[in-house]
Amino acid sequence: MAARTVAKDIITLRGSAAIVSEFFGYAANSILYNRGVYPEESFVKVKKYGLPMLLTEDEGVKSFMTNLTAQLSEWLEAGKLQRVVLVIMSKATSEVLERWNFSIETDGEVVEKGISREKSDKEIMREIQAIMRQIASSITYLPCLDEPCVFDVLAYTDTDVAVPFTWIESDPKLIANPQMVKLHSFDTKIHKVDTLVSYKNDEWDEE
């Protein structure tokens, strides 16, 4: 019985990578829903992290997300992923309006030596849940996206990573003079993910 409990709290590199990439998939869906990038009707509710989460039903977005999370978990397992950024741009002008920045710190020792760490599933889920709640509540302070928007995802990787066939180098798509809000972090003891949203300064404040 005791042995089982101990075994349950062990986290491996692969398991951690899976948690992080899955987290990113749900977070991206939640952002797309909450920020109204896609119509509300194209989302369905599922239960995840003890919260009602919304997932897109749109085939195009779904396959994009699936391919994306697959590649992310591969990089995470190799410890090569430094950061993932979800960029929301104006459809008309391609101006970057919001950047959702997920910085990832990988425990190098785990990657090199293949050892595992200890952290309970429950604890990680609780941390992720806090971030998801913050993402959902972010609409209260983020500026309204009152024009049609598109999104893109950037991955910051180590330089020694071979660029996969389906990926291309990109510019960082930064926002000039952004406002920033740091959200909660979570830590699998192998990957530490910091979330930060930066957005275009609302012109209303300026006047």
Partner: protein, 456 residues
């Protein structure tokens, strides 16, 4: 007074005297982020904050950016510009849907999601075209207008049958009957759109080939009085006469009378086969509506009706079979009744009855939408478009100055022609264009990140 406001704004700019505004302006100028309360202590860099408060300002390297987030941004900027440390990659296949979805956001939301909410169709209130129809017989019991499948409209004016080709707008005269035979009491296109049946006041029915303007045959001997209603069912031409008889004529064979339906005691003025050709609805001046079954018809004995419906209190002329529900029939009553009634012709049950307030001369279903168009007499002489089954009035089309006796629908279902006792023929673009987009079937939802292996 002007000077005062000027000077105060001047103070604002230069000396910032007012506390509230001063703070506001300072925040702006320093680009700090003081309006946010960030409750996540663990996310705050206290060491860095301490450094900035104590030694940080000594080095004048970074005079403005003294907030943690500002510093983070600077670092991020440096990182991204410093490409030798990091590689920024973007997935080559951009998410395709937002590009397609967003511009037609509204239409996609409305149409793509199996919602019945559609953008409102514009229904023109005036007629698209008006043609003169002199000598149109003002007789409620006749059927003098029909629009064939070859897009040619036939109208009988007095003793003459005219053809109006809707594709090029040309008019031609098919035939003029002698005074002792005429006037024409009914016209009906055959299913091929080439042959037309013409019912006459002398109880004869003639078949004409409109391609060669040639008379093919005359059906006589069935009726003793004028033939006011006609209905085709493939090679069967059903005729209804003032004598109350309904006769099925097989136009291919010499002894053309194959079946007789007896039930009406007065003139048969409405006659329509259902789309499947299995049931015939007939309405008469005796206020009766009969449903006849094709399968039980026989030539020898008089055929028993399937249903005998007595609900109308006036002559039943307007009949329309529903295009999307095979056993649904709409009927309209004359000036003493004024009702549109809906019937389940399998059971004979009356499903609904609406008092329209005036004589119902004609009924047409919209082939593309669940709508019904009715034409009326006194007092408004209007065409009314109804939503089915709610029977909410969607539009009233005015224009005719006398009762609208006949209506016919174009083969594509968009345009309706109406002929009225004011001797005009009007065309209305009331039913709109057919819906082309087929709705995609909803697919089963698959758990999205299933490719990610969960080890724990």
């Amino acid at each position: 007074m002007d000077a005062g406001s000027l000077s105060s704004s001047g103070t604002l700019k230069t000396r910032s005297r007012y506390p509230l505004q001063e703070q506001f302006i300072q925040r702006k100028s320093s680009k700090e982020n003081l309006d946010r309360f960030i409750p996540n202590r663990s996310a705050m860099d206290f060491d860095y904050a301490h450094y900035m408060l104590t030694d940080g300002n000594k080095g004048k390297e970074n005079p403005v950016g003294n907030s943690p987030s500002r510093e983070a941004y600077r670092k991020q900027l440096a990182e991204s510009l410093n490409m030798n440390r990091t590689r920024i990659l973007a997935f080559k296949n951009k998410p395709p849907a937002p590009v397609d979805l967003i511009p037609h956001e509204l239409s996609n939301v409305l149409q793509g999601n199996n919602r019945s909410v559609k953008p409102r169709r514009f229904i023109p209130q005036t007629s698209e075209r008006t043609l003169d129809a002199p000598d149109l017989v003002d007789d409620y019991y006749l059927n003098l207008l029909d629009w064939g499948s070859a897009n040619v409209l036939a109208i009988a004016l007095g003793s003459t049958v005219y053809l109006w080709d809707a594709t090029n707008g040309s008019t031609s005269e098919l035939v003029t009957f002698e005074d002792e035979d005429g006037p024409v009491t009914s016209v009906s296109w055959g299913p091929d759109g080439r042959h037309i049946a013409v019912g006459l006041n002398n109880s004869e029915v003639q078949l004409w080939d409109t391609a060669s303007n040639r008379q093919l045959r005359t059906l006589r001997g069935g009726h003793s009085q004028r033939v006011g209603s006609l209905a085709w069912n493939n090679h069967i031409l059903t005729t209804g006469g003032m004598d109350g008889r309904i006769i099925n004529n097989d136009v291919r064979i010499r002894s053309h009378i194959v079946e007789t339906y007896s039930g009406h005691e007065q003139e048969v003025c409405g006659l329509k086969w259902s789309a499947s050709g299995s049931q015939l609805a007939s309405g008469g001046n005796d206020n009766l509506l009969y449903i006849w079954d094709r399968a039980t018809a026989s030539s020898n004995s008089t055929t028993q009706w399937l249903h005998r419906l007595e609900d109308h209190t006036s002559a039943v002329k307007a009949l329309a079979w529903c295009p999307f529900q095979s056993n649904l029939l709409a009927t309209g009553g004359g000036s003493g009744d004024r009702c549109i009634k809906f019937w389940n012709t399998h059971t004979g049950a009356c499903l609904n009855s609406i008092d329209t307030g005036s004589q119902v001369c004609s009924l047409l279903w919209n082939k593309n939408e669940r709508e019904l168009l009715s034409s009326h007499g006194f007092t408004q002489n209007q065409l009314t478009l109804w939503k089915y089954p709610s029977m909410v009035k969607m539009a009233e089309l005015n224009g005719h100055t006398s009762r609208v006796l006949f209506m016919a629908q174009s083969p594509d279902g968009c345009t309706v022609a109406s002929a009225a006792a004011d001797e005009t023929l009007r065309f209305w673009n009331v039913f709109g264009a057919p819906e082309s987009a087929s709705k995609a079937a909803p697919k089963a939802r698959v758990e999205p990140f299933s490719n990610v292996n969960r080890i724990r």
